[in-house]
Amino acid sequence: MSYEERLQHVSVLGAAGKMGSGILLLTVMEMADISLKPENKGKAFVLNAIDVSDEALAGVMKYLKAQVLKMAEKKVVALRKMYADNVNLIENEEIINQYVFDAISLVRTSTRLESAFDSRMVFEAIKEDPELKIGIFSKISANNPNQPWFFTNTSSIPITKLDEGAGLNGRIIGFHFYNPPAVQKLVEIIKAENTLPEVEIFARQYAKNLRKIVVPSHDKAGFIGNGHFMRDILHATAEVEKLSAQMPFVEAVYAINKISQDYLVRPMGIFQLIDYVGVDVCSFIMSVMNPYLPSENLHSPLLDNLLSLGVKGGQFSDGSQKDGILKYEKGKPVAIFDIEKRSYIPIAEFQSGVDTKLGDLPAPPPWKTVVGSKTKEEILAGYFKQIKTASGLGAELTRNYAARSCEIGRFLVSSGVAFNENDVNTVLLTGFFHAYGPINNYLD
């Protein structure tokens, strides 16, 4: 079966979710472009958007239409060529609208798993629950005569476990998009022990057509992305616990969030990132990864505690940030949740006091300026050189944080998760928008 034939009948599971809707968008654009080739005229292309709620699926169709329109506007030069034969489509507006119509027409929403029984490939972006995934894959595989391929977006579960559990005989691969899939350039590709070579060839072609940067990862729980992120969280929470001996909890959270954003020159602080992903999701990912990591304990009592108090984070359906460990106004943190008082304390109440405790640090270059700068290396080398010799609590926390991030990166290579250090850095640069890779010699 050719690449294009494989893409004639596709299902996306969890299509109404944050990741699933992005995968749906990218896939519908790819399928539409293929279906519009002259040689494919008359062939049917079907993309099932499967999820549990009709309401959520209705929302996804609105999102899809708006996003396909935006993307069509950007590629109108190519679209005019695609529709060159249709004499009735003359203006850009007519061509763009027709493309949106043609693309959206490929999508069928469904709340029934049975819709996937005719598909040739299945993208999966449902809950990070190995048993749930195995159950669904087994059911589809048993009822689908096409021997479908499964592309799982899991960020933490070993693919081999899913392959074996569902009896797929290698018809599966880890295809891990970053959030949001339509924007983030990175895709981690993870082969199970028995992944069929043709599945990997297809995965790479598909990633290339979507203009993604591919980083391969070994099939170890959490792969590179969460392998770094989860351990980074544990470093942060450990530092907060230590600091809590000398300052209130909210001040410690503020301090570490500030260190991990401003002083490490990252796009957002670690606690804001946890909120962005969801406290529950982070905690759950750790619990999924932990059984596969016998020499470590990937578990955060602090996150559990916060969850038990109802602190969850995550996003509203329009993409705006819900309150979590931090409270947000117009997307910016304004208060921090106090575990003792069970309420948010405004940052303004303690900000200057904590800043004083952190000491007189060299002014960090703003992430926004650094990330796009041609002289990025120079700026960062110069800044970290100052951090290296600076004294005070803030400088020490910054050095420790950077050193631990580097250590995690190296560990991902030595423990056989990443193929090499460069892959680790690429994941952090492209999947997390860091300005520099964690494995560097800035502080040597």
Partner: protein
């Protein structure tokens, strides 16, 4: 002509511009420019007739019957004759010609002329659809997504092939730099806030046919602009009525106003043949030579059009336009400063308003009222020239001006 007024040219580049926020509409631009000129001529009571030039409000703003906006400018314009004219990007020039002919026909002593376009109502990709109306609609299907950039990219490609690419592209980049540097001196210009240091280097960006057109980059193109300009066309009698000294006016001493067949491809893609003819007629009717022109406002909707216009005027021989520009002749300190407030690329190109804006700039320069953008007019070259082009070298208005005595 007297009493010129320009609104700002609003669009990307201006600090006030935010595509997500509400902006002034067509009527506000008409009102602001109209009142600006009325104020300088003693009010609406002095006006005999009105002309409004607009290209495509019917699509950009879903508005027609624009002549009926004159009474909205000032109650004193109620029940006075008014007309709307259209000729694509030469609309402004045609509005001026309509006013000039009314004065010459002695049906009016004072004509209020406005040119206006409000184009940021749609994204650039749809704007391209609307502006494509300046070409023959039967060519639209086979044309480029960005129709006019596509037309002029083809011209640039032909020019590259005939006369060489590298130097020509350098001349385009210099043209861009001159445009922005001039615009920085004019507070109403769209590029007034542009602070880019290395303009020529920026403009040397390699064109990308996959996302735009093959032979031009975005810096080679005028932007999408909202704006209006107004001026009064008056007889000597009208000037007295308005109480304006003759030295504050410019005299129209010649013009060329012609059309070429919209259904035909260019006679020669490396040459603006209609433009050349219109300028020739303008200079002949004024009884002057090109060497007597002190400054010109020419229609640089694209850098390549600017370059070809230098050859059409005869400032440079065919194929030598690049040298003429790169030697600095068109810069504000050069032999013939061109587009001294930025032209279409620097000041902006609210299509239906551009021809009127050109006249306002010449009026200001020749009467010493151009503010920071003022150039010194060489006494041996006392004439100003405007060249306003509609479509791909199809509708042309070229006018010769001299300061009143």
């Amino acid at each position: 002509m007297v009493a010129g007024y320009n609104t700002i040219a609003l669009g990307t580049g201006r600090k006030e511009f935010n595509p997500k926020k509400e902006r002034p509409g067509l009527e506000e631009y008409i009102k602001e420019s109209g009142q600006g000129t009325l104020k300088k001529i003693g009010g609406a009571k002095n006006v005999d007739e009105c002309v409004i030039g607009n290209f495509m409000a019917s699509r950009f703003n879903r508005q027609a019957n624009l002549a009926a906006f004159f009474p909205y400018i000032d109650d004193g314009l109620r029940y006075k004759p008014a007309v709307r004219v259209e000729g694509a990007c030469a609309t402004g020039g045609l509005a001026l010609m309509t006013g000039i002919k009314s004065v010459l026909a002695e049906t009016a002593e004072v004509v209020l002329v406005i040119g206006v376009e409000v184009q940021n109502t749609v994204k650039a990709i749809y704007c391209a659809d609307y502006l494509a109306g300046a070409g023959w609609f039967k060519n639209r299907k086979d044309g480029h997504a960005y129709f006019f950039p596509g037309q002029f990219s083809d011209r640039a490609g032909a020019y590259f092939e005939k006369y060489g690419r590298d130097k020509t592209r350098q001349a385009f980049a210099r043209w861009f730099r001159n445009a922005v540097e001039n615009a920085r001196l004019c507070a109403t210009a769209q590029e007034y806030h542009n602070t880019t240091k290395y303009l020529e280097e920026l403009a040397m960006m390699e064109p990308n046919g996959k996302s735009f057109v093959d032979n031009l980059n975005v810096f080679d193109c005028s932007k999408v602009s909202d704006g209006a300009s107004a001026i009064a066309i008056v007889s000597e009698e009208g000037l007295k009525r308005c109480g304006i000294p003759v030295s504050e006016a410019v005299e129209v001493i010649g013009w060329g106003q012609i059309e070429e067949d919209i259904t035909k491809p260019p006679v020669d893609p490396t040459e603006l043949t209609t433009t050349k003819q219109a300028i020739k007629m303008a200079l002949a009717s004024a009884g002057i030579t090109r060497d007597q022109i002190g400054t010109a406002e020419i229609h640089d909707c694209f850098t390549v059009a600017g370059l070809m216009c230098m050859e059409a005027i005869g400032f440079a021989e065919k194929g030598k336009g690049s040298d003429f520009i790169l030697e600095g002749n068109t810069a504000r300190s050069g032999k013939v400063p061109i587009n001294t407030t930025g032209g279409l690329i620097g000041w902006g190109h609210p299509t239906g308003g551009t021809g009127v804006h050109q006249a306002v700039t010449i009026l200001e320069q020749l009467t010493g009222k151009a503010g920071d953008a003022q150039i010194t007019i060489n006494p041996n070259r006392p004439y100003g020239l405007t060249v306003n082009m509609g479509g791909d070298d199809k509708s042309l208005v070229s006018i010769v001006y001299k300061r009143g005595k």
